[in-house]
């Protein structure tokens, strides 16, 4: 789950990090009152709270030299979609004059299987740009999770991006807090960009935190995120998620249902190989029961891009008889084959599955290639 800037900054504050003075404006709030209550003096920055990268370039961050100007910007930004997303919140911050912009982040290096600190003295642009334009400026340091990020680690990184004296100490405190947030909140990513250099301290002008979805049950304090707010999903993807389906929308006409991410991607590859085009990726995952299969079939019946359906199952933890049962139940409840379906079953309990389908008049394939060719050939 991606956190909004204001949420990430609130967490950092909780961990002792100084952040720019600010006030959060929800839709319908009186901005003038809010700004005055918070004691904010211009110049101010009004920032659209949307979960997309490149928010500044897309016009989601504006400077105001007076409170009146800020109030105007509030109206403007609430109505302005940033890469297709309208904000529910705006963050009004004190504009901070600063001498330089740094970059600092902590991620998981999946190959080394350790947290990795990334820092650069060239912040402000995104990390991919830094990597392209100033690759030598990126400092990397792996952290042994049993030792944790210690003060000296932070100082090594700080020195390498050119900090010294009091600023180095401030940076060290900041990085330690960022690491604590990253670890305590099961972060996939904790980042500040830009991290501003202000006098003898650092101050995060922006902050991002992405929390591992598998760990969300430990962090009920974070609340829930509506999928519409993330801007990552299409309408049908959101519908699919609400029904517990792992679904990605594509542009072709062949609906795909398979089990396991690798096999589902390969099923797409096969359909392409023989001249077809998938309308979606739908992975039943491991151990799908009849109920889940039924839901998946019903969903593709409704999904308009899918004109025909290819169900490709290789049973391991998933049992082919459960898949067959789910398919037959779906067809019975929905009044038959709304769209032509090609089924391929192999693996655990495939003979039982084949039998169930045969009773309903469906001949399931054993061979994936033959099945893929058959579905591509179907004229719809």
């Amino acid at each position: 789950m991606k956190l909004f800037e204001f949420e990430a900054k609130n967490l950092l504050k909780k961990y002792g990090v100084e952040v720019p003075p600010s006030v959060l404006i929800a839709k319908g709030d009186d901005p003038k009152k809010k700004i005055e209550e918070a004691g904010l003096e211009p110049p101010l920055v009004v920032k659209s709270q949307v979960l997309v990268a490149g928010r500044g370039k897309a016009g989601g961050i504006k400077k105001a030299n007076s409170i009146d100007e800020a109030i105007k910007l509030v109206d403007e930004l609430f109505e302005k979609p940033i890469k297709g997303l309208k904000p529910s919140y705006l963050l009004i911050e004190k504009a901070i004059e600063h001498e330089a912009e740094l970059y600092a982040a902590i991620i998981i290096d999946r190959s080394e299987r350790k947290p990795l600190v990334l820092a650069s003295k060239y912040g402000g642009m995104d990390i991919e740009e830094i990597a392209k334009e100033k690759p030598e400026s990126i400092v990397r340091l792996h952290i042994d999770p049993q030792v944790g990020l210690r003060g000296y680690h932070a100082r090594i990184v700080g020195k390498k991006i050119g900090l010294k004296g009091k600023v180095l100490r401030s940076f060290s405190n900041f990085l330690s807090a960022l690491y604590k947030v990253f670890m305590d909140y099961d972060g996939d990513l904790a980042e500040s960009n830009p991290l501003a250099l202000v006098g003898d301290k650092v101050l995060p002008l922006d902050a991002r935190l992405i929390v591992d979805d598998n760990a969300l049950y430990k962090h009920s304090d974070l609340g829930e995120r509506k999928l519409e707010e993330t801007g990552e999903y299409t309408e049908w993807e959101i519908k699919a998620r609400s029904q517990g389906l792992t679904f990605v929308e594509l542009d072709g006409d062949t609906g795909i249902i398979s089990n396991g991410a690798g096999l589902t991607m390969t099923t797409m590859d096969l359909v392409y190989e023989f001249g077809g085009e998938p309308s979606n990726f739908l992975d039943l995952g491991g151990g799908a029961d009849a109920e889940l299969v039924k839901r998946a079939v019903r969903f593709l019946f409704e999904f308009p891009k899918a004109k025909k359906i290819f169900i490709n199952i290789f049973g391991g933890i998933t049992r082919c008889d459960e898949v067959a049962k789910g398919l037959v139940q779906a067809l019975k409840e929905l009044g038959g084959m709304k769209k032509p379906i090609v089924v391929r079953l192999a693996g655990t309990n495939d003979e039982e599955g084949r039998k169930i389908l045969k009773e309903y008049g469906i001949e399931a394939y054993t061979d994936a290639i033959e099945a893929a060719k058959a579905v591509v050939k179907l004229q719809v």
Partner: protein
């Protein structure tokens, strides 16, 4: 010489009384796997398919001191506990089937296992099979057959697909290891390749990769450096997948020049590996390679 497991391997099933644990215990037993004990807290003293169940790993290992591998079906919230429990009683190979374990927990137990000299397979994996000898996982046994091809894979179902194609082409397998689909896993491609390199029974290796991460690139580098000398055929899933949702910008940085389908294929081909366009091409490519 064996790759981690053989017909003498004695297995403990952690989470044996659950739906999946009990179902796959039955399938593993009927394959011939020697399962000596199961563990489920609170269910000690019962039996599952004639296998004695204990409350703790400590009791299980005391009663069955020859057990050397454990397989975990415990739900994600409790899976890390089960892994530590297995490592701490001295189990040398732990197979973690469980999906959805928080990645920070995996990170911690994988590092701990390394220090203790325990091999972790998974999480979110199908397990390991030495066809005709033992199956410690959830793969359908009949897709596999004994022979001389090794398989390493990041995908479960795709492994069965490839093994099935090899089997139908008369190419049996020495051992197949599903390393798991999570961002952080225990045994990696290159670590598994060291084992296959030393195994005289293995004459060729199939690598089944997928987009994301850099395990395939690391395997390619190992081959290029001459540290893996047997013929290799690879398949990478996701050739036609649209660029996926990735983990923010910082995630892209360690993947610079890696992660995408084309980059993986390029790295593998540069190392002399034949890359199949569809999994069903693999048997022919293997026949040509050996």
């Amino acid at each position: 010489m064996v790759v981690l497991v053989d017909e003498n391997t004695k297995v403990i099933v952690q989470g044996i009384t659950g739906h999946e644990g009990s179902f796959h215990t039955k399938l593993m037993l009927s394959y011939g796997t020697k399962i000596v004990a199961g563990v489920t807290p609170g269910k000690g003293g019962t039996k599952v398919h004639e296998v004695p169940v204990y409350d703790t790993m400590e009791e299980a290992i005391t009663e069955h001191p020859d057990a050397n591998v454990s397989i975990i079906f415990v739900p994600a919230k409790f899976a890390a506990d089960a892994v530590y429990e297995a490592i701490d009683v001295g189990i040398k190979v732990v197979v973690v089937i469980t999906e959805h374990i928080p990645v920070h927990e995996t990170l911690a137990f994988v590092n701990y296992a390394k220090k203790k000299g325990t091999v972790i397979i998974g999480p979110n994996c199908p397990g390991i099979i030495s066809p005709g000898k033992t199956k410690i996982g959830i793969m359908p046994g009949h897709a596999f057959s004994p022979g001389s091809v090794g398989i390493i894979s990041r995908s479960g179902t795709l492994t069965y697909e490839v093994a099935y194609a090899l089997t139908r082409a008369g190419l049996g397998q020495t051992t197949a290891i599903g390393v798991g689909g999570d961002p952080v896993v225990g045994i990696t491609f290159t670590e598994a390749m060291e084992l296959f390199e030393r195994d005289p029974e293995t004459k060729a290796l199939v690598i089944i990769g997928e987009i994301g991460g850099d395990m395939e690139e690391r395997a390619a580098k190992m081959i290029e450096e001459g540290k893996f000398t047997k013929p290799v055929v690879a398949f990478v899933a996701g050739r036609t997948a649209p660029p996926g949702k990735r983990m923010g910008h910082a995630g892209a940085i360690i993947m610079m020049g890696t992660g995408a389908y084309q980059d993986k294929v390029k790295a593998l081909e540069k190392a002399g590996v034949k890359v199949a366009r569809i999994p069903q091409e693999i048997p022919d490519l293997i026949k040509k390679a050996i």
